[in-house]
Amino acid sequence: MNLTDYKDVYVFAEQREGKIQNVALELLGKARELADANQEKVVAMLLGKHVRENAQELIAAGADEVLVVDHDLLAEYLTEPYTQAITQIIKERKPSIMLIGATTIGRDLGPRVSARNVTGLTADATKLEISDDEAHEFRMTRPAFGGNLMATILCKDHRPQMSTVRPGVMQKLPADPDRKGTVVDFKVDFDEKKISRVKIVKTVKEEKTVADISQAKVLVSGGRGVGSKEGFAKLETLAKELGGEVASSRAMVDAGVMEQSRQVGQTGKTVRPSLYLACGISGAIQHLAGMEESDLIIAINKDKFAPIFSVADLGIVGDLHKIVPLLTERLKSLQK
């Protein structure tokens, strides 16, 4: 493998039913920074059926070039046809770096692509950078050991250097509708026999009333100290007053009080809102891993030794059941 043949930063532009996923736009923002550091291009890989019209959105988010693979076999995500398409892109275009969102789709696709192309894949990186020394090494940093340790990973002698990144970890650029880029139709020869081994019988969307907490600007999050659905109702009133959403620690999800989709942390979602108000959350390291990048962290807890205070900008030792309703009332009166 001649490493110098490999260049540019490729992003898997995940779409579902023709809608570009937020994580793809976030990755384009990061890819822009990485590509600029090496004077390279950002290339978005847009796979699907009737998706060409989404290309401009990707250019506006930072792509220089969009490779459109438009095919019936790609209408709905399946491992094999998507792996075949990306593998053909790798063979013909020789990407240096490839970023994929760590969604259920990306975490299915990434390892399959890495194994087929015999290259490394870093899981769920939280920091991606090009070293500022002469080597211009691509460094991928991720939590290890249940979030207790950070590890910086290199993929020295194999290309592309692949990484998945969880939604909400990177930041998208402000969309620039005037940005110029090229849109290229990329043809793939599919091996349909291999594809036919898996068939989609049906895809079911469950009625979930929840908003995506990883996109919320304000999160009022509750833990064991909140205790019950009634307790969370108080948090919800406060969240509404702040224009935000309610989130939860793992303890309250395991207890069946809150739904899993609102869980923050290592096994839940990663969030970085403008305000994270932690109520009755002790702050296990697995929880902190999912929220410590928040701009402003305020914590209310009865236990003054709770680890959550170690990451809080403002800590209040006190009873959330008294403070939260008072705070809600105060905010209401300020509105008037």
Binding site: D108, M150, E206, V317, L326, L334
Partner: protein, 261 residues
């Protein structure tokens, strides 16, 4: 039907504590457990054994002490247990790990391979799909239920997605990765615990799997750890023990200062 379940011994990361003075991990005394998603996968296999009389094999790659989780699996009711252990396999990243396990699987007959979705010590969710690729088999990840249709030799699999779920029909043989939350693993049976120590755990070395040495262990790992370091927590802010009324004032002032309100 033959099923192979790939399991891993992991430190119980929920028990890991940080030394507040040095900021380093306290690894001593952290118990080792069978990875929860793998245990969920094992339960699915044992349910197929109950229903169809499937023959269930468990395999793990790791240090000799990983035998403990194989004994646990035997006590839960599996038929055969294999420990793949060799210095040559050490230092492997996910790709080299999956190459070694795929090499072991190639020497066996199976209709279904089950792995856990991800291990709690690494959270990569890569080894299952990579095994499938090495074996050129179809994969379904995030499996929360599966049914076997004997007449068509297919599996009907329910896969979890962000929006809900998908029902997929997959030809055997195939690889699935299981979610711990989808099933409650059975307990070890009392007579199972006794017989688990009578049963043999097969110990395999790297020579058993016939994978080129440049594909396993450190040599077969495209990724390497450049450095590992304790997480830098940002400096803590101020903490106040105050009355609820004073607390509200402090919070409101902070929200104003940061232009949240």
């Amino acid at each position: 039907m033959n099923i192979v379940v790939c399991i891993k011994q992991v430190p119980d990361t929920t028990e890991v504590k940080i030394n507040p003075q040095t900021g380093t991990l306290i690894r001593e005394g952290v118990p080792s457990i069978m990875n929860p998603d793998d245990k969920g996968g094992l339960e699915f296999a044992l349910q197929l054994k109950d229903k169809f009389g499937a023959h269930v094999t468990v395999i793990t790659m790791g240090l000799p002490q990983a035998e403990a989780i194989l004994r646990e699996a035997l006590a839960m009711g599996v038929d055969r247990a294999i420990l793949l252990t060799d210095r040559k396999l050490g230092g492997a990243d996910t790709l080299a790990t999956s190459s070694a396990i795929a090499g072991a699987l190639r020497t066996m007959d199976f209709d279904l391979v089950i792995t856990g979705r991800q291990a709690i010590d690494g959270d990569t969710a890569q080894v299952g799909p990579q095994i499938a690729e090495h074996l050129d088999l179809p994969q379904v990840s995030y499996m929360e239920d599966l049914q076997y249709n004997e007449s068509t030799k297919t599996f009907t699999i329910r896969k979890q997605t962000e929006e809900g779920y998908q029902i997929l029909e997959v030809q055997a043989p195939c690889v699935v990765t299981a979610l711990a939350s989808a099933v409650s693993p059975r307990y070890m049976r009392v007579n199972g615990i006794v017989t688990a120590y009578d049963k043999e755990v097969e110990v395999w070395g790297a020579d058993r799997i016939q994978v080129p040495e440049e594909r396993i262990g450190k040599a077969g790992s495209p990724t390497s750890v450049y450095k590992a370091f304790p997480k830098q927590l940002k400096p803590a802010g101020e903490t106040h023990e105050v009355t609820p009324e004073e607390a509200v004032e402090l919070i409101v002032n902070k929200l104003k200062e940061k232009h949240i309100i």
